[in-house]
């Protein structure tokens, strides 16, 4: 038995027709894949600590300066921001997919608006958005300057 799957993964990243929730879904999936790959690489990278201080320190430096360019902090920041987004959006999904903080059903009237951009659900998104920005700024500032507010 084969089930037709015409669009597949291409449609995940075509959020243009569907509004905010579809954008959040696309980003959630994208950051999920990136973080999963990072996790695997991170486990192999950190295993090098068993090879002694000289090897470890030189690997840390080469990760801060890959190919002699100081882009380590930029890569770390992107991973950090991906983690913050995936984490907080995941928190929202845990709440919403268990049926909480969704507005009451209503009669669909033109122009149709998704339930999920109304009421408490919208409040939740705004609050988590603010938290995301705050944590993101704190993290990126720390990565670049070493100062933790």
């Amino acid at each position: 038995m084969t089930i037709e799957n015409k669009k597949g993964w291409i449609s995940w990243f075509n959020p243009f027709k569907y509004g905010l929730d579809r954008w959040m879904y696309a980003l959630h999936r994208l950051t999920g894949i990136v973080l999963g790959i990072y996790l695997i690489l991170h486990i192999f990278e950190t295993a090098n600590i068993l090879r002694g201080p000289v090897t470890w320190n030189s690997i840390m430096v080469s990760l801060d300066w890959p190919f002699g360019v100081h882009i380590g902090p930029i890569i770390l920041s992107l991973v950090f921001l991906a983690a913050v987004y995936h984490g907080l959006n995941g928190l929202r999904l845990t709440i919403v997919e268990n049926g909480l903080l969704l507005p009451r059903p209503y009669r669909p009237e033109y122009p149709y608006k998704a339930k999920s951009i109304r009421g408490l659900n919208l409040v939740l998104k705004i609050i988590l958005g603010i938290v995301m920005v705050v944590i993101g700024v704190i993290g990126v500032l720390y990565i670049f300057t070493g100062v933790l507010i």
């Binding site: 089930i3 999936r29 999963g36 996790l39 295993a47 600590i49 470890w56 840390m60 928190l91």
Partner: protein
């Protein structure tokens, strides 16, 4: 296991990752056992690492503490489950049908176990005084 149970575990591990992840970040910054809390402390303008929270002795001190070692082992467990169950969901949406589903599930299970054992090896060896 039933899909609903797997997804329940996905939410549960997600919440645990938020907690453990916060500690992971704090251990690299505020809680790191070093006076200077930057990630990399270089000697002048050279590329010679002389300190910072990613310095060998700092990292080793964290990983030889039983509490943190145990926490990272738990962190690794929930992360590997969450990541590979996530991959499984994504792949089984892309490649549908019972045969594909089976292949995906067992492939993910095997890779997840390899990653888990390899990561645990690092933590356990450090905790038992090796490395």
């Amino acid at each position: 296991m039933r899909e609903s149970k797997l997804m329940f575990l996905q939410y549960l591990t997600g919440l645990l990752i938020l907690i453990f992840g916060t500690f992971h970040f704090l251990l690299l910054s505020y809680l790191a056992p070093t006076t200077n809390k930057v990630l990399y402390l270089y000697l002048g303008n050279t590329h010679q690492l002389i300190g910072g929270t990613l310095y060998y002795s700092t990292v080793k001190e964290i990983y030889t503490t039983l509490l943190w070692g145990a926490m990272f082992e738990a962190f690794l467990t929930v992360l590997v489950y969450h990541a590979f169950n996530g991959f499984r969901v994504i792949l089984s949406e892309q490649f549908q049908g019972p045969r594909a589903e089976k292949i995906i599930t067992y492939t993910m299970l095997v890779i997840a176990l390899i990653i888990f054992i390899y990561g645990s090896r690092t933590i356990v060896v450090l905790l038992t005084g090796g490395g």
